[in-house]
Amino acid sequence: MARTVGFFTDTTLCIGCKACEVACKEWNQLPGHAPQFGDGYDNTSQLDEQNWRHVQFHERTTAKGGVAWNMMSDVCKHCALASCMEVCPTNAIIRTEFDTVYIQPSVCNGCRDCIAACPYHVIGFDEASGLARKCTFCYDRLQANLTPACAKACPTESIKFGELSTMKEIAGARVNQLRGQGMSEARLYGDKEYGGLHALFLLTDKPEVYGLPPTESAVLPSRNNARGYLGTLVTAALGVVGAVFAFRERAGKE
């Protein structure tokens, strides 16, 4: 059954339990990397070919001088205008009947152009299979009318799943509610960026803090086509004129 699905991740409800990460790895049979231990509770460190959900821990100083965390379960945004899909030369990256962005493992040839294009550091190259891999939005579960594993496992409903339009309504209401309670820094991310994301986030700080490009930076790779080729064309013209001049010069003199 075709529908337009979405995630809404409410970071104010995230307790950093990483159940989403575990459920994702279990369902998608991702062995994961060896954990990296730094000075925080984040031993996943980033989204990549093994980590399709990543719980970020951002320390901040509270008004009273204490330390608090901003936590956010990050995931592929399944952009309406997807940079990865735009550059993919093999058409391995497709938009599914659920309006999500999916890398077809049988088509991808591991050129990795999508990795350089994704502005959210989502896609990773899997050495074992030779493929680019990322969150599938649990494509197989969607086809069976099931909730994606991460949303299913989230114990605080920080990760919500449903129709994209419903998610937008819930997200908008939640932002208004928090602002009404005096949390003026509450904001919605994902309703404007890249034609609208299929993973919305309620943030309590600037997007950059969470590794999300600010709205004005949400631009596609193809923006550089025209000016890149134009510069090359002008250079080609100058180069040819230089060569013609050089190759005729001596012949004319002698």
Partner: protein
């Protein structure tokens, strides 16, 4: 300034060498074509040499690109949609465009190679003569120039910091490609016995190419602005020094002497500088 959080695509040595050799193959063909069309009859052997060089260098390129893939046996997915078996072509994706340009240019490089080979025996142009021959090498040269430059555009059409922060990479790679191609041709020409006037013409052309490249290096850093500070790390600084030595020293030599040994030294330095440029641009943005 645009702020993105991009994972490096792990494009490494295969890609660096492809960018370098693609620049030589395309640039050498274009120089051969211009030399044939604009030079006199004494330049014919060097023009022929250019066509003899272009194809073997070009032949390495698809091998490098295929080896770089995670699934090399699926290289054909670049051209043919593996599900519908229709043709894959996305004009807005330089990687897609580049694959087709590589393929089409190969045809021109092959025909010109065979023609040059036959000419080597017969001592004159056996086919591709007259207006048709001229048109053929002109079109081939356009594809060659495209091959030498689009690799920079490919890097820019991404969201990778540095690559996507500038519009000058395609232009810079093309100017450098032409210079490296002139150096390659000059080096091979001087290893054999050729007309001094042809050698001098290549040197003269390389002066323009180096000046163009230096101007574009300035444009590159100006367009990068603050993003260029990534290159201040020692290892990248060392490579930029090689780039500068590979442009400024050959330029000085080109203006001061036409003797054989300094000219060959200039060519070797140009090649080193061209390779260093691609290494620093490809690796520098990803680390």
């Amino acid at each position: 300034m645009i702020e993105h959080f991009v994972s490096p695509p792990q494009w490494e040595w295969y890609i660096v060498w492809y960018f370098f050799l693609g620049g030589i193959a395309g640039g050498v063909y274009a120089l051969g074509a211009i030399l044939r069309l604009m030079g006199d009859e004494r330049d014919a052997p060097v023009a022929r040499l250019a066509f003899l060089l272009s194809l073997p260098v070009l032949a390495i390129c698809p091998i490098l690109l295929t080896l770089d893939l995670g699934r090399p046996l699926r290289f054909w997915h670049m051209m043919i949609d593996s599900r519908t078996f229709g043709l894959n072509f996305k004009y807005w994706s330089p990687m897609s465009v580049g694959v087709w340009v590589l393929l089409v240019f190969s045809v021109f490089a092959l025909v010109s190679f065979l023609e040059a080979l036959a000419g080597l025996r017969a001592g004159r142009t056996p086919f591709l003569t007259g207006g048709l021959g001229r048109a053929f090498v002109i079109v081939g040269a356009v594809f060659g120039l495209f091959l030498a430059g689009y690799t920079g555009v490919l890097l820019s059409v991404s969201n990778q910091p540095i690559w996507s922060d500038t519009w000058a990479l395609g232009a810079l790679f093309l100017a450098s490609g032409l210079s490296v191609a002139a150096a390659t041709l000059s080096l091979v020409t001087r290893l054999g016995r050729h007309e001094q006037s042809s050698e001098a013409k290549l040197t003269r052309a390389d002066r323009y190419f180096i000046i163009l490249e230096l101007a574009l290096l300035v444009v590159f850093f100006l367009t990068l602005g603050a993003a260029g500070s990534r290159f201040l790390a020692h290892r990248w600084m060392a490579l930029w020094v090689v780039v500068l030595i590979g442009t400024l020293v050959p330029l000085a030599l080109h203006f001061s002497t036409e003797r054989r040994v300094p000219a060959m030294l200039a060519a070797v330095l140009t090649l080193a500088g061209g390779l260093a440029l691609r290494i620093v641009v490809v690796f520098g943005a990803q680390m």
